[in-house]
Symmetry: D3
Subunit: 228 residues, 6 copies
């Protein structure tokens, strides 16, 4: 049952980089408010914004053996996505594994578990989104699989899907839809840029979006606060 799938398909690099520039909130909205991982997935330091192709790892809880296996399947531009088969807060990943991933051009790690050596990872500029920070060591005893479909932090991810991650969290875009989602994301950005200028000038969203009529129709009433 333990398999390592090699040579997964990946999205085009320009599409991936375009999605990174748009960021998680925009991409999540542009693809119909889907694909967001649980908000418990937090970056170990602020300010990183990346996108990459998912190399997925399904592994036993408290056992990081398959991460070593997965490293070999990574190429430049990938993001490692690690999902234990049951919840634990152990620290599956640290600075040595990060050195290995950096040597291969991997852009970051998304792990629904714990990570350690966060001071070193921050100094290296290797971004990680995780549920926990923990130094708790793991074993190397049980097989898992690499590049199989996984559920990570509540989101279904297939190998080669595009992962976008920033300070707002982590989002997945199915590989076949990545180009279309990028187009919609850029369109959304254009629209927002126009609205932003008007909002900064003091116009109200109530007017820009034409909400007043619908609010009144639903029964919203304005009253003055009574004197005390």
């Amino acid at each position: 049952m333990s398999r390592v799938y090699r040579n997964i398909p990946r999205a085009e690099a320009s599409v991936i980089d375009g999605l990174a520039a748009c960021g998680v909130a925009t991409v999540h909205e542009a693809q119909g408010r889907t694909g967001l991982l649980a908000p418990a997935m937090r970056p170990i330091y602020a300010g990183a914004r990346i996108a990459g192709s998912a190399v997925t790892v399904s592994l036993a809880p408290c056992d990081n053996w398959m991460i070593h296996v997965a490293v070999e399947q990574c190429t430049a531009g990938d993001i490692l996505v690690v999902a234990p088969t049951s919840i634990s807060d152990a620290g599956y990943f640290g600075e040595l594994l990060a050195c290995s991933l950096v040597a291969r051009g991997v852009r970051g790690l998304v792990i629904d578990a714990g990570v350690r050596d966060v001071r070193d990872l921050t100094a290296m500029g290797f971004p990680v989104w995780s549920r926990y920070v923990s130094a708790q060591g793991t074993v190397k005893e049980t097989l898992g699989s690499v590049n199989v479909p996984v559920v990570c932090a509540g989101a279904a991810i297939r190998p080669g899907d595009v992962i976008i991650a920033d300070d707002d969290g982590v989002c997945v875009v199915a590989r076949p839809e990545a180009a279309a989602v990028l187009r919609k994301s850029l369109a959304r950005e254009d629209k927002e840029a126009a609205v932003r200028a008007r909002l900064k000038a003091g116009e109200l969203g109530l007017d820009i979006y034409g909400m007043r009529a619908k609010l009144a129709e639903r029964g919203l009433t304005y009253v003055d606060t009574p004197e005390e």
Copy 2:
């Protein structure tokens, strides 16, 4: 049932600014250890310390329509306080809404739910205290109310109450008591300044506060650690 109350009363600007300078821990103690919101309310970035008049929003879970309505009720020096009627971790607020609030002179946001675009909000210097960071989008379908009494993160807040927020969390001071609480806060600060100097000089709190007699009376015993 859905109402927007206009022209709420507000505390004096000098009182509000005085409370900001004292900070959450001092104000909370000065008003008798009340008014603190749940510690799960965390700032999106470190270092901000603000106070302002609460413009309150009661809204449906996963629906941010009423925030757009509330913006119009805000004036310079206000803090928007958002409380969904049931818990969710969606992201009700982002950078566009912040642009609109900044244009009106609003000082920050307190929301018992999720916020997104935290990288942009941090860059803008618009502080937010929230329970979650999440990009999860919301809908605009259900009415709520603006400037009604709300319970936000476990604290009862009335429109026009003074909100103080810093790295320690968020505290509410009832508007009619704001001036008195400021006086007590300043008195507390004076007393603490004197104690601080003595502590830094190496005096012990045991002596400064005269605790030794009461401790002995209660039965506290000092013994030497036995040799092993």
Copy 3:
């Protein structure tokens, strides 16, 4: 039942400082993956890495009286370890107590509860690892004990044990084993330095650690991703 034990034994300063330099993850591994406090214990600011001798405090929930008692038992190089007898999220410790500890040369605080004045503590460079940040005040009514064995965040700690704390969390090393654990930690660092150089050069952990044979023996299979 309430006792203050004076003159606890402490580990050698050079051993303590050596363990600080190794950091939590290395020390935890070196002593057989034991001694880690729960990952919910987080630093109030990033970047601190300390070690010191534990002065332990067992106190009643929402009552910080015994911290004042414990200050007197601290000497230069100590770390205060505070464990309430039942969980609460109140803020037992703030800037004034920190001033007193700094005056005595204490290196930091580990508390399985809340802390406040985090902005001031950060400015002072006084590091704290806590479960919560909260301004909620406490009382001074009930006795506890100082320098008794405690359970703090799931780890058993005796007075004089060595505490190591950094961005990965907090670890305890039993005093009698501190020198031996330091030796093992340094050995581990040496070994990791050699591995690090090879990983950075692009070698794989699979080869460095000789994992391929064992993986194959367990049944790991490599397959190419099928064309779609």
Copy 4:
């Protein structure tokens, strides 16, 4: 600041009993989906369904002194509502206090904290809704207040408000609105009875509620599952 308010107003007994018969879910809906306490408030045993007038207690965390004070303010048909000023999981209430409340005709307890002696309470048939079950003892050192407005498990409750509690949780109805909410609840029950009969007979809600047109207008599409 510590006050005990005597002789609070109460709703009519027939209204209270009518609301009990309707249950939490119906009453909550009938008053516009408001008033529900956090779902973390769970009954210590299944099957109880009660309503009563709130006698409120605001007390210090881990200190149950004011519960003893509150007992005297209770009369037949009341429900004791206990809200600590900061979260703890201690056990503030046990069988002896229940004996005292039973002697006064009190119908149950709602406490945003812990309760103990649940085996005895179950045997006595004294229902409790609490956030925790815990034997952790509390002290009697700090004053609080009785029959002041409180926030309990996220809901604002005034003394004399009607509390309804059953296996679904706990709901509060403001005393002045209790009669009106009962009327709406009964109307809702009538309507539901008619729908229930049709649903049991196999009719679909889609048809009973006339949802099909609106769903189609919004764009819902029906397709057959493709052959594999």
Copy 5:
């Protein structure tokens, strides 16, 4: 994007019923320790053990409209599986919807959110596994989909997959593998029956499973507890 898929494939009734008889723990082990939903999914009452074909519902948070749509797609022997696209603790399902499902022969509900009317559901014998019990009402405003692949409580579920649920939780078996998993489950039961008899007779698992040699080889040492 909102689709309702009709006429989903289902596993054979005899296979489904066989899996129900084996129960969650056995089936989960038999299929290689996969498919378990998060342990936060708890039954509303003890003792139910069911299996059925998944009719899946993906819906907006705090909006139960699509459950009404899904009812029509259910046939005898199904289990309704409901997954909101973001976490909330609202009560999406109650007794009226259960009446409708019972009329169609549906065996139970699995919902990664809240449920209400649990007293009535218990009396009806309609089993539910949910993350929360809550009376909080939902709206009917936003479309979702029926019989699409969902992630429910961390497990990927496709329409027509077999759901097994009992006091241990909830497990999913992919439809194409259901018959094979049943065979393995029955084999496991046979093996366990033999072991059970020997254990009851006082034999030790250490001997039955032949563990002593491997334990010794790994270095396990037996020592007598020293006299005090």
Copy 6:
């Protein structure tokens, strides 16, 4: 490092049984409000009340091998106490292991992790207190230790200590103090019996405990609720 300690000392059977009869809340109070395990430890069914000698197991997360080793060290009247070295919600224990323990006269299990087969365990009348219920399987790969001191759910437990468990949770009494704690528990029960009778007769705790003077001295004020 992996050791199994044989022939641990145990408290006298009559003392153990006496503590069981007193129950967790009484024993916890009688020994000075110490020894309680975290309230997250819940019984799998209501109504059990047991005491026994702790046979302790320290094991790797998600690995139940050492439970098999521990069974052999159990004798009639023991309670198995299992503490993983890092948190996980896997199900380490089920009905087969319970059969083995029952054959040896073991009275129950306390485990700071998950348990499965709860339906069978309930039918057998084998009580378990655990943090989770979960069917998630574990491996048998890593050694741990039996009858070493452990921290279980926040409480330090030594082999041979007396464990008391009932619907209120779990409490540990150090073996050398068990007889003294029993005496204090019985004294407490006598005192409570007298108070109980007076409370049932309608006397108030305020009077029985003589609280009125101290409350007045602290400043408690009684006022009539103002007319509206």
